[in-house]
């Protein structure tokens, strides 16, 4: 199976001279759950915008579905049909008058018929549980609601690669969890979800691959366990150990380590019983 993305030694420099990405290589396969972690300004958003051709690397190349991206208009359209990005600030993304119209924007651009657009919109609304908001104007919504509408707008395009830039930023724990459970529902063997977050506990629970970005380069790319035992790396990237991981390793849990609160509880029960 061909990987969705192969990034080979890409660098990106903003016009003002800031090196946002330095010699970065990354492969994104099918059906992956990747959490991208890195402190503010590490280059996460820049990396995401490389993936759908909004930004073009200064050096290096990006392969999408095995083909080198040429940044021609037609090809960009094809890429963007398959790669959906949910931006961090929903106000930057939502511009239509009301919720339904905004969700319909992407599917309409795909050239679908009115009926198909309608079906996609209804589906996305049902998936994100925003039925009660469907006819409201955007400025009536709270931040959490806007975030869900922004996700619905991208979902409605049914992208093969779903990219979310800090989907939980500014949300309380309840809504953050809700977004992750939504992501679990959206899993298919083909779809890859890539998200950036600061919440290491949520990343540890959800991801099957963690990528750590630091000053424009990748300093860790691998399973969600090894990273958290490398203290120097954690310190360098300003990361905190997930509490479940911390408790589990302190108590000497066997591998694979429990990743969720429930799994940790199960382990504690067997430990006390045994």
């Amino acid at each position: 199976m061909v990987n969705y993305f192969e990034l080979a030694n890409i660098s990106y420099r903003y016009p003002d001279g800031t090196h946002a990405l330095r010699d970065l290589s990354l492969t994104i396969g099918r059906g992956e759950r990747i959490a991208l972690i890195g402190h503010n300004g590490a280059g996460k958003s820049t990396l995401f915008q490389q993936l759908n051709g909004i930004l073009q690397p200064t050096t290096g190349e990006v392969l999408f579905n095995g083909q080198k991206m040429s940044y021609r208009k037609k090809e960009l359209k094809r890429v963007r049909e398959h790669v959906g990005i949910v931006f961090q600030d929903p106000d930057a993304q939502l511009f239509s008058g009301n919720v339904k119209q905004d969700i319909a924007f992407g599917p309409t651009n795909l050239g679908l018929t009115q009926q198909e657009v309608q079906a996609r919109v209804d589906w996305a609304i049902a998936q994100t549980e925003i039925d009660s908001l469907a006819d409201k104007p955007i400025h009536f919504l709270s931040l959490g609601q806007k975030k869900r509408v922004a996700i619905a707008g991208v979902l409605a395009m049914q992208p093969a690669v779903l990219i979310l830039d800090e989907p939980t930023a500014g949300l309380d724990h309840y809504y953050a969890n809700q977004i992750f459970s939504l992501l679990r529902q959206l899993e298919t063997p083909e779809r890859t979800v890539l998200l950036s977050t600061h919440d290491t506990q949520l990343a540890y629970e959800w991801a099957d691959r963690i990528v750590v970005l630091h000053e424009g380069t990748i300093i860790y790319d691998g399973n969600p366990y090894d990273i958290f035992s490398q203290d120097d790396l954690l310190q360098k990237a300003h990361l905190e150990k997930p509490w479940v991981f911390d408790v589990a390793t302190t108590l000497g849990a066997p591998t694979p380590l429990p990743r969720t609160r429930a799994a940790l509880k199960d382990f504690l029960r067997t430990k006390t019983l045994g």
Partner: protein, 264 residues
Amino acid sequence: MLLIDKYAYINRLKDVHPMEKMVFTALLLLFSLTVRDQLISLITFIVMSAFIIFGAKIPWRYYVKLLLLPSFFLLTSLLAILVSFAGPTSALPPHIFALSFTRFQLFIGVASVAVAKQLFFVVLASISALYFLILTTSVQAICYVLYKWRIPPLFVELCEMTYRFIFIFLENTQKIYIAQQSRLGYQSPRQWLRSVGLLVSALFIEVLQRSTELTSAMLSRGYDPSNTTPLYFEEQWQFRKRNWLGIAVIFGAIVAVYVGGRQW
């Protein structure tokens, strides 16, 4: 959040087909503007106000407040129309009031009174008609009708975005203003001026940033600037024969009053 905008979504006539409301507004508004008749304008004002207060159930106190908003502009322009000046020796046209000073004469002409009266009534009618539309119909619904009326999609899209951006800027202005106030930015007139300057420049930067972000977001969702995709509107309203009949009867009656009044 603007109250006037909020009412557009919660009033009792929100489910009436926007086409009906717009046709009704347009007919009455255009007719009163064309004939410029005091009686017709007054009737238009009464009909529209009745629909706003009893039909849409907008609190009358709020409606009165809204009417007072443009009255400042109306009064100043009325004053400018009413009061005329002439040289100290020139003969005055027919007038109802005059004052002579050594260097000039000030007077209120009969003709200006007529113009001012006409203006007053026409403005009253127009304001009430527009308030009826604004208070009962959301901007999306208005855009939907404009789209159906084959107004270029570019223009309709622009309307919608402008509408959305008004709220983004209001929100940001408010946030910045509160932040400035909480750090004592508005204590003296000097500080006030400085803070307002900073606020405005911050908003300008915001515009640039927002538009770049928005373009990226739109491109990410498959937007092709060279190719206008049809706009998406959901048909959530239904035409009602009763409403069309009502519009025809009201408009017919107003025309009849006008024609009857002339012949008399």
